[in-house]
Protein backbone atom coordinates (compact mmCIF):
# COMPACT_ATOMS: atom_id res chain seq x y z
CA UNK A 1 0.00 0.00 0.00
CA UNK A 2 2.80 2.38 1.01
CA UNK A 3 4.67 1.53 -2.20
CA UNK A 4 1.55 2.19 -4.24
CA UNK A 5 1.05 5.63 -2.62
CA UNK A 6 4.71 6.50 -3.19
CA UNK A 7 4.63 5.46 -6.86
CA UNK A 8 1.40 7.35 -7.32
CA UNK A 9 2.92 10.44 -5.66
CA UNK A 10 5.98 10.25 -7.94
CA UNK A 11 3.83 9.93 -11.05
CA UNK A 12 1.69 12.89 -9.95
CA UNK A 13 4.74 15.07 -9.18
CA UNK A 14 6.21 14.17 -12.53
CA UNK A 15 2.92 14.93 -14.29
CA UNK A 16 2.54 18.31 -12.54
CA UNK A 17 6.12 19.19 -13.44
CA UNK A 18 5.57 18.31 -17.09
CA UNK A 19 2.25 20.11 -17.16
CA UNK A 20 3.85 23.25 -15.68
CA UNK A 21 6.64 23.18 -18.28
CA UNK A 22 4.18 22.73 -21.13
CA UNK A 23 1.97 25.52 -19.77
CA UNK A 24 4.87 27.96 -19.40
CA UNK A 25 6.12 27.00 -22.85
CA UNK A 26 2.71 27.53 -24.42
CA UNK A 27 2.16 30.90 -22.74
CA UNK A 28 5.60 32.11 -23.73
CA UNK A 29 5.10 30.89 -27.29
CA UNK A 30 1.71 32.53 -27.65
CA UNK A 31 3.32 35.73 -26.44
CA UNK A 32 6.02 35.36 -29.04
CA UNK A 33 3.70 34.53 -31.87
CA UNK A 34 1.42 37.43 -31.00
CA UNK A 35 4.39 39.74 -30.75
CA UNK A 36 5.06 39.20 -34.42
CA UNK A 37 2.01 37.69 -36.02
CA UNK A 38 1.52 40.54 -38.47
CA UNK A 39 2.65 38.58 -41.47
CA UNK A 40 6.11 40.09 -41.63
CA UNK A 41 8.78 38.12 -43.37
CA UNK A 42 11.06 35.79 -41.46
CA UNK A 43 13.91 38.13 -42.24
CA UNK A 44 12.20 41.12 -40.73
CA UNK A 45 11.02 39.20 -37.69
CA UNK A 46 14.52 38.11 -36.83
CA UNK A 47 16.21 41.38 -37.67
CA UNK A 48 18.52 42.16 -34.74
CA UNK A 49 17.38 45.79 -34.75
CA UNK A 50 13.75 44.67 -34.25
CA UNK A 51 14.37 42.43 -31.23
CA UNK A 52 13.28 44.09 -28.04
CA UNK A 53 15.44 44.68 -24.99
CA UNK A 54 12.90 44.05 -22.19
CA UNK A 55 15.15 43.13 -19.29
CA UNK A 56 18.30 45.17 -19.81
CA UNK A 57 19.12 45.44 -16.09
CA UNK A 58 18.90 41.70 -15.58
CA UNK A 59 20.68 41.01 -18.86
CA UNK A 60 23.62 43.25 -18.06
CA UNK A 61 23.97 41.68 -14.60
CA UNK A 62 23.82 38.21 -16.11
CA UNK A 63 26.33 39.27 -18.78
CA UNK A 64 28.70 40.49 -16.07
CA UNK A 65 28.37 37.16 -14.27
CA UNK A 66 29.13 35.29 -17.51
CA UNK A 67 32.13 37.51 -18.17
CA UNK A 68 33.40 36.63 -14.69
CA UNK A 69 32.92 32.92 -15.36
CA UNK A 70 34.66 33.30 -18.71
CA UNK A 71 37.62 35.04 -17.10
CA UNK A 72 38.00 32.44 -14.36
CA UNK A 73 37.03 29.22 -16.17
CA UNK A 74 36.52 29.26 -19.95
CA UNK A 75 39.22 31.67 -21.09
CA UNK A 76 42.10 30.00 -19.20
CA UNK A 77 41.03 26.52 -20.31
CA UNK A 78 40.48 27.69 -23.90
CA UNK A 79 43.91 29.35 -23.97
CA UNK A 80 45.50 25.97 -23.19
CA UNK A 81 43.15 23.97 -25.41
CA UNK A 82 43.88 26.09 -28.50
CA UNK A 83 47.57 25.11 -28.28
CA UNK A 84 46.67 21.42 -28.70
CA UNK A 85 47.62 19.78 -32.01
CA UNK A 86 45.12 20.36 -34.82
CA UNK A 87 44.11 16.66 -35.16
CA UNK A 88 43.01 16.58 -31.50
CA UNK A 89 41.00 19.81 -31.79
CA UNK A 90 39.44 18.70 -35.08
CA UNK A 91 38.54 15.33 -33.56
CA UNK A 92 36.82 16.94 -30.58
CA UNK A 93 35.03 19.42 -32.80
CA UNK A 94 33.90 16.71 -35.23
CA UNK A 95 32.71 14.53 -32.39
CA UNK A 96 30.62 17.37 -30.89
CA UNK A 97 29.14 18.19 -34.29
CA UNK A 98 28.29 14.54 -34.82
CA UNK A 99 26.54 14.38 -31.46
CA UNK A 100 24.50 17.47 -32.29
CA UNK A 101 22.90 15.48 -35.14
CA UNK A 102 20.53 13.93 -32.61
CA UNK A 103 18.91 17.36 -32.25
CA UNK A 104 19.43 18.47 -35.85
CA UNK A 105 17.72 15.44 -37.44
CA UNK A 106 14.34 15.77 -35.60
CA UNK A 107 14.41 19.49 -36.41
CA UNK A 108 15.09 18.79 -40.09
CA UNK A 109 11.95 16.65 -40.03
CA UNK A 110 9.91 19.23 -38.11
CA UNK A 111 10.91 21.84 -40.68
CA UNK A 112 9.88 19.54 -43.52
CA UNK A 113 13.47 19.15 -44.69
CA UNK A 114 13.22 15.39 -45.21
CA UNK A 115 16.10 15.14 -47.66
CA UNK A 116 18.38 16.92 -45.20
CA UNK A 117 17.15 14.64 -42.40
CA UNK A 118 18.13 11.64 -44.53
CA UNK A 119 21.53 13.06 -45.35
CA UNK A 120 22.22 13.92 -41.71
CA UNK A 121 21.10 10.47 -40.58
CA UNK A 122 23.53 8.94 -43.07
CA UNK A 123 26.21 11.33 -41.87
CA UNK A 124 25.55 10.40 -38.24
CA UNK A 125 25.64 6.65 -38.89
CA UNK A 126 28.82 6.82 -40.99
CA UNK A 127 30.70 9.15 -38.66
CA UNK A 128 29.64 7.28 -35.52
CA UNK A 129 30.89 3.96 -36.91
CA UNK A 130 33.57 4.33 -39.59
CA UNK A 131 34.46 7.75 -38.19
CA UNK A 132 35.20 6.30 -34.72
CA UNK A 133 32.46 7.93 -32.61
CA UNK A 134 32.49 11.02 -34.79
CA UNK A 135 36.16 11.86 -34.32
CA UNK A 136 36.74 11.73 -38.08
CA UNK A 137 34.28 13.41 -40.42
CA UNK A 138 34.26 10.56 -42.96
CA UNK A 139 30.93 11.72 -44.39
CA UNK A 140 32.42 15.02 -45.57
CA UNK A 141 35.34 13.15 -47.11
CA UNK A 142 32.78 11.03 -48.93
CA UNK A 143 31.21 14.18 -50.38
CA UNK A 144 28.21 14.71 -48.09
CA UNK A 145 26.98 18.29 -48.19
CA UNK A 146 28.16 20.72 -45.51
CA UNK A 147 26.60 20.09 -42.11
CA UNK A 148 24.28 22.75 -40.71
CA UNK A 149 23.06 22.54 -37.14
CA UNK A 150 19.37 23.00 -36.46
CA UNK A 151 17.60 23.40 -33.13
CA UNK A 152 14.08 23.79 -31.79
CA UNK A 153 14.39 27.59 -31.70
CA UNK A 154 15.08 27.62 -35.45
CA UNK A 155 12.13 25.31 -36.00
CA UNK A 156 9.80 27.57 -34.01
CA UNK A 157 11.06 30.52 -36.04
CA UNK A 158 10.23 28.75 -39.30
CA UNK A 159 6.72 28.13 -37.88
CA UNK A 160 6.37 31.90 -37.54
CA UNK A 161 7.18 32.38 -33.86
CA UNK A 162 8.91 35.71 -33.32
CA UNK A 163 12.03 35.87 -31.17
CA UNK A 164 10.40 37.85 -28.36
CA UNK A 165 12.74 39.71 -26.06
CA UNK A 166 16.49 39.36 -25.92
CA UNK A 167 17.74 37.60 -22.80
CA UNK A 168 21.14 36.75 -21.37
CA UNK A 169 20.97 33.49 -19.45
CA UNK A 170 23.36 32.96 -16.58
CA UNK A 171 26.10 30.51 -17.63
CA UNK A 172 24.38 29.68 -20.96
CA UNK A 173 24.78 33.16 -22.46
CA UNK A 174 22.79 35.17 -25.02
CA UNK A 175 19.37 33.96 -26.16
CA UNK A 176 15.86 35.15 -26.95
CA UNK A 177 12.55 34.31 -25.26
CA UNK A 178 11.70 31.91 -28.12
CA UNK A 179 15.06 30.18 -28.03
CA UNK A 180 14.96 29.86 -24.24
CA UNK A 181 11.54 28.26 -24.39
CA UNK A 182 12.71 25.94 -27.13
CA UNK A 183 15.50 24.73 -24.87
CA UNK A 184 12.88 22.97 -22.78
CA UNK A 185 12.13 20.71 -25.75
CA UNK A 186 15.59 19.22 -25.27
CA UNK A 187 14.69 18.23 -21.74
CA UNK A 188 11.26 16.88 -22.70
CA UNK A 189 12.61 14.14 -24.90
CA UNK A 190 13.78 16.19 -27.87
CA UNK A 191 17.47 15.51 -27.35
CA UNK A 192 18.37 11.82 -27.58
CA UNK A 193 21.77 12.47 -26.01
CA UNK A 194 20.08 14.02 -22.95
CA UNK A 195 17.65 11.10 -22.84
CA UNK A 196 20.34 8.43 -22.66
CA UNK A 197 22.60 10.29 -20.25
CA UNK A 198 20.54 12.31 -17.79
CA UNK A 199 16.86 11.48 -18.23
CA UNK A 200 17.07 7.71 -18.35
CA UNK A 201 19.29 5.59 -16.20
CA UNK A 202 21.15 3.58 -18.85
CA UNK A 203 24.12 1.49 -17.88
CA UNK A 204 26.26 2.91 -20.69
CA UNK A 205 26.18 6.65 -19.97
CA UNK A 206 25.90 8.91 -16.95
CA UNK A 207 24.90 12.52 -16.25
CA UNK A 208 28.57 13.39 -16.31
CA UNK A 209 28.84 12.48 -20.00
CA UNK A 210 26.12 14.98 -20.90
CA UNK A 211 27.47 17.87 -18.85
CA UNK A 212 31.06 17.12 -19.92
CA UNK A 213 30.01 17.28 -23.58
CA UNK A 214 28.29 20.63 -23.01
CA UNK A 215 31.31 22.05 -21.14
CA UNK A 216 33.66 20.80 -23.88
CA UNK A 217 31.44 22.40 -26.48
CA UNK A 218 31.75 25.71 -24.60
CA UNK A 219 35.54 25.44 -24.44
CA UNK A 220 35.73 24.45 -28.12
CA UNK A 221 33.67 27.51 -29.11
CA UNK A 222 35.74 29.81 -26.88
CA UNK A 223 39.01 28.46 -28.27
CA UNK A 224 37.89 28.83 -31.90
CA UNK A 225 36.89 32.44 -31.26
CA UNK A 226 39.62 33.27 -28.76
CA UNK A 227 41.25 36.15 -30.64
CA UNK A 228 37.99 37.47 -32.06
CA UNK A 229 36.29 37.70 -28.66
CA UNK A 230 39.34 39.34 -27.07
CA UNK A 231 39.52 41.75 -29.98
CA UNK A 232 35.85 42.73 -29.80
CA UNK A 233 36.09 43.16 -26.02
CA UNK A 234 39.16 45.36 -26.31
CA UNK A 235 37.75 47.55 -29.07
CA UNK A 236 34.16 47.96 -27.96
CA UNK A 237 32.65 51.00 -26.38
CA UNK A 238 29.78 48.79 -25.14
CA UNK A 239 30.83 45.13 -25.15
CA UNK A 240 27.38 43.97 -24.04
CA UNK A 241 25.76 45.63 -27.08
CA UNK A 242 28.40 44.18 -29.42
CA UNK A 243 27.84 40.63 -28.19
CA UNK A 244 24.07 41.10 -28.46
CA UNK A 245 24.37 42.30 -32.04
CA UNK A 246 26.75 39.50 -33.07
CA UNK A 247 24.57 36.84 -31.46
CA UNK A 248 21.36 38.10 -33.07
CA UNK A 249 22.98 38.45 -36.50
CA UNK A 250 24.21 34.87 -36.20
CA UNK A 251 20.77 33.60 -35.19
CA UNK A 252 19.11 35.43 -38.06
CA UNK A 253 21.55 33.85 -40.48
CA UNK A 254 20.96 30.35 -39.07
CA UNK A 255 17.18 30.69 -39.13
CA UNK A 256 17.26 31.80 -42.75
CA UNK A 257 19.89 29.19 -43.61
CA UNK A 258 21.51 32.08 -45.44
CA UNK A 259 24.23 31.08 -47.85
CA UNK A 260 25.34 34.56 -48.79
CA UNK A 261 25.59 37.63 -46.65
CA UNK A 262 23.31 39.56 -48.99
CA UNK A 263 20.41 37.46 -47.71
CA UNK A 264 20.60 39.04 -44.26
CA UNK A 265 22.04 42.45 -45.00
CA UNK A 266 19.64 45.32 -45.36
CA UNK A 267 21.02 47.73 -47.93
CA UNK A 268 18.47 50.44 -47.26
CA UNK A 269 20.51 51.85 -44.37
CA UNK A 270 23.53 52.17 -46.61
CA UNK A 271 21.51 53.79 -49.36
CA UNK A 272 20.15 56.30 -46.87
CA UNK A 273 23.52 57.85 -46.17
CA UNK A 274 23.88 58.69 -49.85
CA UNK A 275 21.28 61.42 -49.38
Amino acid sequence: MLIYIRVDYNIRTSMIKKFAIILITTIALIGNVNASSDGELLLKKNDPAEIKECWEGFNRASFALNQGLDKVIFKPIASIYRTFPIPIKSGVSNSLDNLSNVVTIPNNILQGEFAKAGINTGRFVINSTIGVLGLIDVASLMGFEEYEKEDYGQTLATYGAGPGCYIVLPVLGPSTARDTVSLTANFLGGDAWYNVTVKNDTQYFSDFDYYASKATSGVDFRAKNYDSINNVEKNSIDFYASVKSLYLQDRQQRILNAKTIVDTQDDSDWEEIEN
Binding site: P48, R82, T83, D227, K234, A241, S245, Q253, D269, E271
Partner: protein, 195 residues
Amino acid sequence: MKKKLFSVIFTLILLANNVVAIEADIFVQSTVNRASKLLSEDISKEEKIEKLKIIAKDTVDIQGIGFYTLGSARKNLSDIEKVKYSEKFEKYFLKSFSSRLAEYTNPEINVFAKEILNKNYTIVNSTLKATNERPEIKIDWRIYTKNPDQPLIRDLIIEGLSLARTQKEEFASVLSSNDGDINVLFKVLEEFSNN
Protein backbone atom coordinates in the same frame (compact mmCIF):
# COMPACT_ATOMS: atom_id res chain seq x y z
CA MET B 1 34.64 63.67 -90.72
CA LYS B 2 32.88 65.08 -87.72
CA LYS B 3 31.26 61.72 -87.15
CA LYS B 4 34.63 59.95 -87.26
CA LEU B 5 36.20 62.44 -84.89
CA PHE B 6 33.33 62.03 -82.50
CA SER B 7 33.70 58.23 -82.62
CA VAL B 8 37.42 58.45 -81.92
CA ILE B 9 36.92 60.80 -78.97
CA PHE B 10 34.10 58.67 -77.61
CA THR B 11 36.22 55.49 -77.89
CA LEU B 12 39.16 57.18 -76.20
CA ILE B 13 36.99 58.35 -73.30
CA LEU B 14 35.54 54.88 -72.96
CA LEU B 15 38.99 53.29 -73.00
CA ALA B 16 40.35 55.80 -70.52
CA ASN B 17 37.51 55.05 -68.12
CA ASN B 18 38.08 51.33 -68.42
CA VAL B 19 41.80 51.68 -67.80
CA VAL B 20 41.36 53.82 -64.69
CA ALA B 21 38.43 51.90 -63.13
CA ILE B 22 39.62 49.52 -60.44
CA GLU B 23 37.91 46.17 -60.01
CA ALA B 24 36.65 45.68 -56.44
CA ASP B 25 38.31 42.28 -55.99
CA ILE B 26 41.67 43.55 -57.23
CA PHE B 27 41.33 46.54 -54.94
CA VAL B 28 40.71 44.28 -51.92
CA GLN B 29 43.56 41.92 -52.76
CA SER B 30 46.00 44.79 -53.22
CA THR B 31 44.85 46.43 -49.97
CA VAL B 32 45.23 43.15 -48.13
CA ASN B 33 48.69 42.60 -49.62
CA ARG B 34 49.69 46.10 -48.59
CA ALA B 35 48.55 45.54 -45.00
CA SER B 36 50.01 42.04 -44.90
CA LYS B 37 53.42 43.27 -46.05
CA LEU B 38 53.37 45.94 -43.39
CA LEU B 39 52.37 43.53 -40.64
CA SER B 40 55.22 41.18 -41.47
CA GLU B 41 57.80 43.99 -41.29
CA ASP B 42 60.24 43.99 -38.42
CA ILE B 43 59.09 47.26 -36.87
CA SER B 44 57.52 48.18 -33.53
CA LYS B 45 53.79 47.75 -32.92
CA GLU B 46 53.39 51.52 -32.62
CA GLU B 47 54.97 52.07 -36.02
CA LYS B 48 52.72 49.40 -37.51
CA ILE B 49 49.67 51.11 -36.03
CA GLU B 50 50.65 54.47 -37.51
CA LYS B 51 51.23 52.95 -40.97
CA LEU B 52 47.97 50.99 -40.78
CA LYS B 53 46.15 54.25 -40.14
CA ILE B 54 47.53 55.60 -43.41
CA ILE B 55 46.30 52.51 -45.29
CA ALA B 56 42.88 52.87 -43.65
CA LYS B 57 42.61 56.54 -44.64
CA ASP B 58 43.40 55.59 -48.26
CA THR B 59 41.08 52.63 -48.57
CA VAL B 60 38.18 52.94 -46.10
CA ASP B 61 35.20 55.27 -46.38
CA ILE B 62 35.49 56.37 -42.76
CA GLN B 63 32.99 59.20 -43.02
CA GLY B 64 30.41 56.96 -44.74
CA ILE B 65 30.79 54.26 -42.09
CA GLY B 66 30.53 56.92 -39.40
CA PHE B 67 27.16 58.17 -40.67
CA TYR B 68 25.87 54.63 -41.23
CA THR B 69 26.91 53.73 -37.70
CA LEU B 70 25.01 56.67 -36.28
CA GLY B 71 21.77 55.41 -37.81
CA SER B 72 18.67 57.56 -37.55
CA ALA B 73 20.35 59.77 -34.92
CA ARG B 74 22.23 61.37 -37.83
CA LYS B 75 19.06 63.17 -38.91
CA ASN B 76 18.84 65.04 -35.62
CA LEU B 77 22.35 66.47 -35.75
CA SER B 78 23.14 70.03 -36.71
CA ASP B 79 25.85 70.65 -39.32
CA ILE B 80 28.31 71.63 -36.57
CA GLU B 81 27.55 68.44 -34.66
CA LYS B 82 28.00 66.40 -37.84
CA VAL B 83 31.47 67.83 -38.35
CA LYS B 84 32.33 67.25 -34.71
CA TYR B 85 31.04 63.69 -34.90
CA SER B 86 33.01 62.95 -38.09
CA GLU B 87 36.22 64.12 -36.44
CA LYS B 88 35.67 62.08 -33.31
CA PHE B 89 34.53 59.04 -35.23
CA GLU B 90 37.61 59.09 -37.46
CA LYS B 91 39.94 59.10 -34.45
CA TYR B 92 37.93 56.33 -32.81
CA PHE B 93 37.77 54.26 -35.99
CA LEU B 94 41.46 54.55 -36.83
CA LYS B 95 42.47 53.52 -33.33
CA SER B 96 40.03 50.62 -33.24
CA PHE B 97 40.88 49.44 -36.78
CA SER B 98 44.65 49.65 -36.48
CA SER B 99 44.90 48.09 -33.02
CA ARG B 100 42.69 45.21 -34.18
CA LEU B 101 44.88 44.50 -37.19
CA ALA B 102 48.19 45.07 -35.42
CA GLU B 103 47.55 41.89 -33.39
CA TYR B 104 48.10 39.77 -36.50
CA THR B 105 51.65 39.07 -37.61
CA ASN B 106 51.22 37.80 -41.14
CA PRO B 107 47.61 37.27 -42.12
CA GLU B 108 47.13 35.38 -45.37
CA ILE B 109 43.93 36.46 -47.09
CA ASN B 110 42.87 35.06 -50.43
CA VAL B 111 40.24 36.80 -52.52
CA PHE B 112 38.28 34.27 -54.56
CA ALA B 113 35.01 35.82 -55.79
CA LYS B 114 32.90 38.95 -56.05
CA GLU B 115 29.24 39.78 -56.45
CA ILE B 116 28.16 43.08 -57.92
CA LEU B 117 25.03 44.15 -56.00
CA ASN B 118 24.41 47.40 -57.89
CA LYS B 119 26.43 50.31 -59.27
CA ASN B 120 27.26 51.44 -55.73
CA TYR B 121 28.18 48.16 -54.07
CA THR B 122 30.16 45.01 -54.74
CA ILE B 123 30.68 42.24 -52.22
CA VAL B 124 34.14 40.67 -52.41
CA ASN B 125 34.57 37.21 -50.89
CA SER B 126 37.80 36.10 -49.27
CA THR B 127 39.20 33.71 -46.67
CA LEU B 128 41.69 34.25 -43.90
CA LYS B 129 43.90 31.17 -43.90
CA ALA B 130 43.71 28.89 -40.85
CA THR B 131 46.59 28.78 -38.38
CA ASN B 132 47.42 26.25 -35.68
CA GLU B 133 45.33 28.23 -33.25
CA ARG B 134 42.22 29.09 -35.21
CA PRO B 135 40.21 27.70 -38.11
CA GLU B 136 39.84 29.33 -41.54
CA ILE B 137 37.69 32.47 -41.43
CA LYS B 138 35.41 33.71 -44.19
CA ILE B 139 35.64 37.46 -44.73
CA ASP B 140 33.38 39.39 -47.10
CA TRP B 141 34.05 43.01 -47.96
CA ARG B 142 31.37 45.55 -48.85
CA ILE B 143 33.03 47.80 -51.39
CA TYR B 144 31.56 51.17 -52.26
CA THR B 145 32.01 51.57 -56.00
CA LYS B 146 30.12 54.77 -56.75
CA ASN B 147 33.40 56.24 -57.92
CA PRO B 148 34.90 53.33 -59.90
CA ASP B 149 38.29 55.02 -59.95
CA GLN B 150 38.45 55.03 -56.19
CA PRO B 151 36.62 52.10 -54.58
CA LEU B 152 36.37 52.22 -50.80
CA ILE B 153 35.75 49.65 -48.08
CA ARG B 154 32.50 50.21 -46.19
CA ASP B 155 32.09 47.02 -44.21
CA LEU B 156 33.80 43.81 -43.22
CA ILE B 157 31.54 40.81 -42.82
CA ILE B 158 33.27 38.11 -40.83
CA GLU B 159 31.58 34.70 -41.02
CA GLY B 160 28.38 36.50 -41.95
CA LEU B 161 28.58 39.02 -39.11
CA SER B 162 28.79 42.64 -40.16
CA LEU B 163 31.22 44.80 -38.22
CA ALA B 164 29.50 48.02 -39.32
CA ARG B 165 26.13 46.70 -38.18
CA THR B 166 27.60 45.62 -34.85
CA GLN B 167 29.12 49.05 -34.37
CA LYS B 168 25.83 50.68 -35.32
CA GLU B 169 23.93 48.70 -32.68
CA GLU B 170 26.66 49.46 -30.15
CA PHE B 171 26.30 53.20 -30.77
CA ALA B 172 22.50 52.89 -30.63
CA SER B 173 22.84 51.23 -27.24
CA VAL B 174 25.01 54.06 -25.91
CA LEU B 175 22.52 56.63 -27.17
CA SER B 176 19.42 54.85 -25.88
CA SER B 177 20.99 54.40 -22.43
CA ASN B 178 21.56 58.17 -22.31
CA ASP B 179 18.26 59.55 -23.63
CA GLY B 180 19.71 60.01 -27.11
CA ASP B 181 22.25 62.57 -25.88
CA ILE B 182 24.87 62.83 -28.65
CA ASN B 183 27.30 64.53 -26.27
CA VAL B 184 27.56 61.32 -24.26
CA LEU B 185 28.55 59.48 -27.43
CA PHE B 186 31.12 62.19 -28.21
CA LYS B 187 32.55 61.73 -24.74
CA VAL B 188 32.68 57.94 -25.03
CA LEU B 189 34.40 58.14 -28.42
CA GLU B 190 36.92 60.63 -27.10
CA GLU B 191 37.67 58.49 -24.05
CA PHE B 192 38.24 55.46 -26.27
CA SER B 193 40.54 57.39 -28.61
CA ASN B 194 42.60 58.84 -25.76
CA ASN B 195 43.08 55.60 -23.85
